[in-house]
Every structure is written in structure tokens, then in C-alpha cells.
């Protein structure tokens, strides 16, 4: 008897509490930047595709919903020929973002992806690629890596010595 009254009293008190429920979709909830929602592929500060098609996101994915194929441009800069995420399988665990060595793949605070047709949840690279660097504005993998690409030769990466001159006689 007492517990029933206590419960009713507790419910009554809630009438004066601040409302937690918001009027979605008219009103949007605040989502932290680190929220794990829709996955995007970002670009480096120079505007080039950040993804180097290393397959690490694909191997990290516990539901195996990422498939891609590597290819290269004429200057041997590697990028994905296609990059596909099957969002109908994705569990938004964020392992792909953890695994990504170039900050290319990022999870965003957006979850509004509902579809009536499951096939529409298959996103290709055109659907994933955004125009900016996303959460990590400064990083450019190619400035750190030792391989040469168009516009960056050997020994021109950060913290690299100029290439060894092989025909030099002095030690």
C-alpha cells in the first residue's frame, strides 16, 4: 500500500521536472562529435582522397560489411577503385575508424539513414566521400609516408633526409 502511494508520488513529482523527451524530428538531439553514426570517407587538407585502400577497416569490421579494391593513379598514389559499405549490416562499432591509419574513414553524429528498401543501404564511394577532412583537419598521410606520389618525391616527406647519393665516394 505504502509502495503504491510512494510510486504515485514519484510520478507526480515528475510533472515538475525538466522534460527529457524532445520533439524529434522537429527538434534535433545534441550528438557529441564522437558519436558513432553514419560512416564517411574524408579528404586530406589538400583536397585529395584520404583513403589509401589499405584494407584495414575491412579486416577490422566484425560484420565484414566493408569491401573495397585498391588501385593507383598515374603517380602511384593509391586509392580505392570502389569502396562499399553495406549499412544494413553495419553495427556502428567504430572499429573501422580505430583501424584507419589515415583518418579517412570516420563515424559522424548522424543516424538518420532509415530506408524502406534494404538495397538503398548499400553505400558506394560516391555516397561516402565528403569534401572536407572531417574530425581531423591537419593530417595528411602522404606527407608522412616514405613512398613518392605526384608532387612529392623521395626524401621529401616530413622528417626525412634527402635520398642517399649512391655514387658518392665518401663514406
Amino acid at each position: 500500500m505504502l509502495s503504491i502511494i510512494r510510486t504515485m508520488w514519484s510520478v507526480f513529482l515528475h510533472t515538475f521536472h525538466r522534460r527529457v523527451t524532445i520533439q524529434y524530428p522537429e527538434q534535433k538531439a545534441y550528438l557529441a562529435p564522437r558519436y558513432r553514426g553514419r560512416i564517411i570517407l574524408s579528404r586530406d587538407p589538400d583536397g585529395g582522397e584520404r583513403c589509401v585502400a589499405c584494407h584495414l577497416c575491412a579486416i577490422a569490421c566484425p560484420v565484414d560489411c566493408i569491401a573495397l579494391q585498391a588501385t593507383e593513379d598515374e603517380n602511384e598514389r593509391r586509392y580505392p577503385e570502389f569502396f562499399r559499405i553495406n549499412f544494413s549490416r553495419c553495427i556502428f562499432c567504430g572499429y573501422c575508424e580505430d583501424a584507419c591509419p589515415t583518418y579517412a574513414i570516420q563515424l559522424t553524429p548522424d543516424f538518420e539513414m532509415s530506408e524502406y528498401n534494404r538495397q538503398n543501404l548499400v553505400y558506394e564511394k560516391e555516397d561516402l566521400l565528403i569534401d572536407g577532412p572531417g574530425k581531423y583537419p591537419g593530417y595528411n598521410y602522404w606527407r608522412v609516408s616514405g613512398v613518392s606520389i605526384g608532387g612529392k618525391g623521395k626524401g621529401e616527406a616530413e622528417n626525412e633526409l634527402p635520398p642517399v647519393e649512391l655514387r658518392r665516394l665518401t663514406p
Partner: protein
Amino acid sequence: MGTIYIDGKASEADPKQNLLHACLSLGLNLPYFCWHPAMGSVGACRQCAVKQFKDAQDTRGRLVMACMTPAAPDTRISLQDPEAVAFRAGIIEGMMLNHPHDCPVCDEGGECHLQDMTVMTGHDYRRSRFPKRTFHDQYLGPFVYHQMNRCIQCYRCVRFYRNYAGEDDLNAFGISNEVFFGREQDGVLKSEFAGNLVEVCPTGVFTDRTLRRHYTRKWDLRMAPSICGHCSLGCNTTMGERYGLLRRVVNRFNSEVNGYFLCDRGRYGYEFVNSEQRIRAAQINGAPTSVTEAKRRLSSLVAGGQQLIGIGSPRASIESNYALRRLVGKDRFFCGVSDGEWERTRAMVEILQAGPARSASLRDVELSDAVLILGEDVTNSAPRMALSVRQSLRQQSFETTQKLRVPLWMDDAVREIAQAKRSPLFIAAAGATRLDDVATATYKAAPEDIARLGFAVAHEIDAKAPEVPDLSGEMRELAATIATALTGAKHPLVIAGPSCRSISVIESAANVARALCDNGHSAALSLIAPACNSFGLALLGARPMSEALAAVQDHGDATLIVLENDLYRQLPAKLVDGYLAKAAHLIVLDQLGNGTTAKAELLLPAGTFAESDGTLVSNEGRAQRFFQVFVPEDGIKESWRWLGDQSWSSLDDVLSEIGTEIPRLASVIGAAPLSSFRIAGAKIPREPHRYSGRTSITANISVVEPKPPDDPDSSLSYSMEGASIQPPAALQPFFWAPGWNSIQAVNKFQSEIGEALRGGVPGVRLFETSTGGGYFDGIPNPFTRRTQEWLLLPIEHIFGSEELSAHASSIAELVTEPYLALNPADAAGFLAEGKPTVVEVAFGGLKQRVPLKVLAELPSGLAGIPAGLTALCGEELPAWCRIERAS
């Protein structure tokens, strides 16, 4: 075996080996770089440091390099000693100082020995703030991609390339912290085994350039055990596929056959599977048609009441040849090769089956200590064997090494002791060979004279062997030298083959082997076959092609079925035109478009070795099974499925029928476990357990994931799920072990390092020695040159002479232009202003214009033409030809 104590635990170890070998054989994880099971220790990288203790009381111990310390009985070591652990971590950290931040874009990533060892030692954070050293890279040809920044200076590449493969255009340059591994300048690597650098290099300095074009990580490849079909040696390979495209071939260890290495033709020839020339759909009179329609047409043609004539193929599996033979009847099944080649192949099989000499595996070749090669340039006709022959040259120097009590694994010391001492190698060939540089003596002559030399050697060894009449003093002397060298050896070996297109050469080799065996020497004989399944076809039995024409003529409305065979490469074009014109219907099954397929009424797409299952018999007489890597696009099927009986539901049915029908081939069924084989009820997965993209690969077509295809023919599954323990060796789809992602994981699968896989040696040997038979006495007359005519001989080329691999795009880059070779004196008359010119070769009513090439080592009176590279490749050679300067 002795007892050694590792971290206080007693273990058995071979005292002839070193501690690293012992630790790895025991399954322990000890990091290493410069040591290689096939190349021994040099102690260059300092990575395998362990603590060694004097005795049970010693607690201080000292650091030693495991690879440089013998596993003597009662050795006490510790792998876990904190000082040893810290030392190993320090070495890795030092190596990583200059290692670039490349893993995401490096092709080695995911199967990198350096990655594995770095993880093993626990080095995970870069402390150094100093800048990294960099290098310029080189262009090294179509096979190997160079990224020198990644080098850790372990010296494995030059040790393999120079010491093991015997080529000299890759070297270490510079000193101190700036040692560079590459060529003096950009250019194609000269060695035919350069592709092995990809596997020998512990990191990504040398990577597979063909894989780079369609890059896929190791963990994403669907892999299956396969057998190389680009020559007769039957090297074991692992094929990798992704998204329906064959991605690459890597070595699959087989202790008796290829060991740790492949040749470049075997490694890079795979690209023909993805070639534009592939026949991917059935065609009726050149128009693509459906599988159903093709099947209907096939059965109506077969059941049409016309005489069926089947033409088999030395490059098709036993099963496919058998299916055709069964369909047409054994009296109407023909061998598909020229009469000469058929005669030689059958003679070789006969010799190996009935002779006293053991048919040599590649391991036997490696362990022999005196070699006589008759009429073969093995580097070009059976490339992997050349690498084994090179290793055999070290055998005699090992006696000195053993006297000095230097263990064989101490590579540098052993080579230093050997100096220039080599086991005897004699090469008699109709021109220069790639092993001439290490031969004790070479003899350049026409096939007849090579055979005479062989017969003379046999007579020198055993007086009962027929004597060669009119022997020149020079040849007698050479024969005596060779005979002395062979009889003085513990394991003499004779190698011969069909390159000279001479049966006498093969018979003379058989005589030498028999003479050695009859005199108490344990001689081995290795006969190279013309194609990957020539011996299988010979064992199956077929009628010669000369009788096929008669059969076609007898039945004016015969239906000709040609199995995976471009007749224009096997027989003179005129003859083939005759066959094809006479036949009422022509059914062709093949993989690549060619002259024969162009004329087919019904063309059926046959699966390559990547898309089908079957068995090949190697030149050793080893029947080995290859397995399908992926289910091909609709339409492509195994030839035995197209032609086979409706009641055959799997490969097992074919094999068991072959076993009952052809007793000679009864043991072939044992080449690999049957499709019913299971491990704890599960199939063996073709995909590594981290195969990615399973729910996304086909999502662009349909988001509903298809069921993985069924494989009725083998106990391998198209899945990442299944048995996780080591399967029988013949079914080993890939080498991977926890912590060992690179191909060096093979250590974990061997009974002892460098020895057979724990699951046994793949394949079954069909040839065993016998005491029957006698000497051949068909000694040819000496070669006499003609004044206005030249004896035209084919010259084998590793790249181009083999039909399928020549369609691989990387190999196509290295295929030589057609030429006619003459020796300088003979060529003098055709040179225009001292420069080579274009000549016209004429024989048997045929004419061919080719550029003239001067070859110094070609004997006078002979002319050479590259095998398989000209329109003349189907002609029966040798033939006398006339040469004229083309106007």
C-alpha cells in the same frame, strides 16, 4: 638427436643444426631475419639473440646468436631471459629507425615478416625523433617492384640472388648506414628466379609488381593448393583469387619438389587466366551461346551417329583426357602431339618405369654431386631445375667442410671453404645454356653428336654398353672425363629431355644411368617432359596423330573433338588444315583463343587450373592434384565436366573410374584426399579466418548475401569457416599461423624446418625402379654439316616458348622477338655490311622471314629458331632448311 634445455625445459634437437633451427623446429617463436631455411645462417641481423648458459649452475649466461650457435647436446639457453628479450627489442627498434611509415600502402603489409617480428618483440612505439634515411628506387623489370626505403639490410636478397641463384646483377652498394640493394642502374633483373625476392625479402623492398596492378591483401585472398602447369616439373603453388580475378601465385612448400622457390614463369604465368584472350562463353560458329544451348549441341553432335575422334592434350589433366578418351573410345583417342614428340615421351616414360635408375625429384637433383646434362638448357625448358642443379654444385665441397668440422648451415664459412670448388657438371647442348658459367665442361654440338657423347660415356662406365663407332679422340677424352666424374660421385645424376627433338639423346642418357646403376652407383635420372602432363597422357595411352588423319579420312563425316590443344602449335599447319577440313564437325574445348579454336563449330570454355580440379603427372612421375580456387563465371567448366558421363557427380567418380579402367593410373586417386575427407566433420576453408567483406562483396548487385558455392570435387570449402588444424599437405590452401602472417609461417607446418610438411609430401610417385630392360644401341651417325643447308633446331625460351604463360601480360613484356640464329662463321655470308639482317628460312615448302641473330655458341651447321614463337612452331624439327637473305 641430443637434448638441449630451453628455459629449463629439456627438448630434443639435432646437434648438426643450429639453435634457431632447433627452436623453430620445436615450434617456439624466436624472431629472425637474415637466416633462411634454404640459405643457412650468416649472423648478420642479430635478431635471434638468446641467452646461453655454461651449465646448470650458471645463472649469468651470455648472449649468443641462436642462428650461429650449434644445438650441441646439453646446451642450455633461455629465450625468455629479460636481457635477451630486451636485446631483441633493441635490435628491432634499431631497424625501425629508418623504416618508413608505409604499411598502409605497402604490398607486404599483412604478410610482412618484419611486421610479425616487430609485434613478436613487442616494439610498438617510435621513440626516435631523428629524420629517416631515404633512397631512390629502381625499375627492376615487370616482375619485381622496388621500394628501397623499407630495407632493413638483412642481405637476404643478395644472398639469394648471387649465392643461391647464381646471377650477379643485383648487389649491395655503399657502406655504413647507407647500404643499397639493387642494380648498378635501372633494368630488368637478369635472373629467371628474381620473383623469389618477393618472398625472400622479409619486408616490402621487393614486392610482386603484377599483384600491384590488382592489389589484394593476403587475408582477403581466397586460396587453394595448385600445381604449376607451365612446365613439366610440377612445382607446388598457392593461387589467390578475389572478386573473380586471379590475383597472384606464391610458392607452396613441397620438400621433394620445389622447396622454397619457384621460377618466374611459374610465378607470373598465372595472368593468362585473366587474359583478354580467354574464352568465357560457349560459341557456336563464332557466336556466343548459352550453356544449355552448348550442351544441347554437344550432345546432339556426340549422339549424331557420326564417328567421334578425340584429340587429347599434354597440358590437360588426366581426368579431362580420360573423359575424352571414354567419350570417343580408346581406339579413337589420339595424343594431340607430333609423332616425334609422342615417341620421345613414351620412350621417356618407358625408361623411367623399366630402368634401374631412380627418377629424380628436384630434391634429388639438389643432393646429387655430379651432373651430366644431355641436350637441355634446363633454365629455359624446366627452369626450376636449374636452381636445383646450381645447389648440387656445392655438394662435393661439403666433404671438405665436414672434414674441417664446419656445420653446413654456417653459410658464409661453407662458401668460403668451397672457394671455386664445384661438383662436376657437364653440359652437352646444341647451343649456349644458362648454366654454362658453372659447368666443368661444355660440349656444343648437334643432337646426333650429343647422343654419341652420351653413348660413349655409358660405354666408358660399363664396357657392356654398346660402343660408339668412329669416335673422335677428343670426344673419347671428354667421355672418359665425364665417366670418371660420374663414377667418382656418390649420387650421380643424368638429365636429358626433348629439347633436341632427338630420341637418341634420351636413350643415351638412359644408357649412362643404366651403366652407372649396373656398376653399383646409385644414379638418378631426370627426364624433362615437353608439357605439364605429357607423362600423364602417355600413361593414359593414346594413338599417335599420324593415325588420326587416316581415321578422319576413313570416316568422311567424322566429328573431331579437340581438348585444350592448339593443334597448330603441335603439328605442321598443312596437316592440321587437312584434319580440320576433312572433319564434318569440330568441337574444341580450350581456355585461350588460338588458331584451332578459331575454326571450331562448337567452342566450349574450359577451366584453367585456377578454375578446375585435376591431376597432373610431373616429369618425376609424381601425380599431383590441383584444386579450383574460385567458381568461374557462368559457362566455364572443367573439360572433364563438359565431356564426362552424366553419372559423374564429382571428381572422385572420375578418379575411381580411372583407377578401375586403367590399372597403370590406379594410384593417382591417392594424390590427394578425396572430396569426402573431413577434419572433425568440417571442410578445409579456402579463405583465411580474417577474410573481409563477406556481407558487402556482392551487395552492389543484391544486398541479400548468396550462399557460398558448393564444392563437390574436393574437401575444400569456399568459406572462411571450417577445420582449423593442419590439413594433409596436398590440401594445404595457404600458410598462416598465429603471429606468423608472412609466407615464413611455413615453419609452423613442417615436421622439422626444411623437411616435409607434417601432413606428408603431396602427390604420389608413379615410377619406381625396376631391374628389367637393357642398353639401347641405336647410336646415330655423327652429324655432318651440309654446305648450303642448315639443320633447324628449336631453341627453348623460359618466356614465350610455353603457350599459356606467354599470354600473361608481365611475361609478354620479356618474350623475345622471333629470330633465326646462326653461329658467326655461318652468319657471315648473310650479314649486310657486317650487321645482322632479315633472312628467309625455307624448308618443306614453307617460308618464314625472320631477323638473323648471331649466336657464338651455336655449333656450325645448325640454325636455331625460338620454340613456340614463330609460325613454324608446329613443324617437326629438326629439319634441313635453306636460308636466303631476304630482299
